[in-house]
């Protein structure tokens, strides 16, 4: 009796209350919901916008594979992953992960796992548009690879 994750990749913004309700509405078996919202920072005023390129088709499939791993690993009662693409301005939402479970640790761990793997394996690329200059592609961080490794059993 495995759950089906809700996955969306689009330019559209998301709303925390809507996504939380999607997981919990009408249910009395959920004890914990953890949400992670990733937002666009202005890097101390230097950044005017982020441009998020993605690989349509593969992005959704890869998120689906990561979500499936989380569902197999933790006793989740609901899972949502929304990743925006296109142009995003400072203060705007980029990504949402929401995990529901009977108990808190599974919800925390699943949400944290999803974020680590989204960073290192979902096919998205960020270009930073800095004030007064052309865009520059963000470089992948070794710390993100390290974060992913801690989930290897």
């Amino acid at each position: 009796m495995s759950i089906t994750p809700f996955i969306r990749v689009s330019e559209e913004d998301f709303h925390l209350a809507t996504e939380s309700s999607r997981l919990t509405a009408g249910r009395v078996d959920i004890g914990a919901v953890v949400t992670f919202t990733g937002l666009c920072r202005d890097e101390g005023g230097h950044l005017s916008a982020l441009e998020l390129e993605h690989y349509p088709g593969m992005a959704e499939e890869e998120i689906g594979r990561i979500a499936k791993q989380a569902i197999e690993r933790w006793p989740l009662l609901g899972l949502t992953v929304i990743h925006r693409c296109g142009r995003i301005r400072p203060g705007e939402n980029i990504v949402l992960v929401a995990a529901a479970s009977a108990h808190r640790q599974a919800a925390f761990d699943a949400a944290s796992f999803l974020m680590d793997f989204l960073k290192t394996s979902a096919p998205f690329w960020k270009k930073e548009h800095l004030n007064g200059s052309d865009g520059a592609w963000v470089e992948a961080k070794q710390s993100d690879d390290a974060a992913t490794l801690r989930w290897k059993r």
């Binding site: 088709g57 979902a122 096919p123 270009k127 992948a140």
Partner: protein, 99 residues
């Protein structure tokens, strides 16, 4: 065209694949996708990353550090030792920076 040539066109050599490029790989090659015929002998991801630069300057520039390039075969991550096998869509891109 002989019967044996037709047979070889359905094998792993000389077959047409769609290549897709993303982020700075796309910018440096200058196109986002193309359909090409793979040369005989281009059997693995590693082979592909070393053969593509022979197609021109932009490829050579985009792939001058082949070790950092990530590759997906039909929407799945592949490491460089992996055979291309019957993949019909092959994507080349830098390390991901989403999330």
């Amino acid at each position: 065209m002989t019967i044996s040539a037709q047979a070889s066109s359905t094998s792993s050599t000389n077959r047409a694949v769609k290549l897709r490029y993303f982020a700075w790989v796309r910018e440096r090659i200058g196109i986002s996708e193309e359909v090409i015929e793979l040369d005989e002998g281009v059997e693995t991801v590693h082979d592909l990353l070393h053969w593509l630069p022979t197609r021109g300057e932009t490829y050579a520039e985009a792939l001058k550090q082949p070790d950092v390039i990530r590759v997906a075969l039909d929407h799945r991550h592949a490491d460089h030792a992996q055979p291309l096998a019957q993949a019909s869509e092959i994507a080349l891109f830098p390390p991901m920076t989403g999330g």
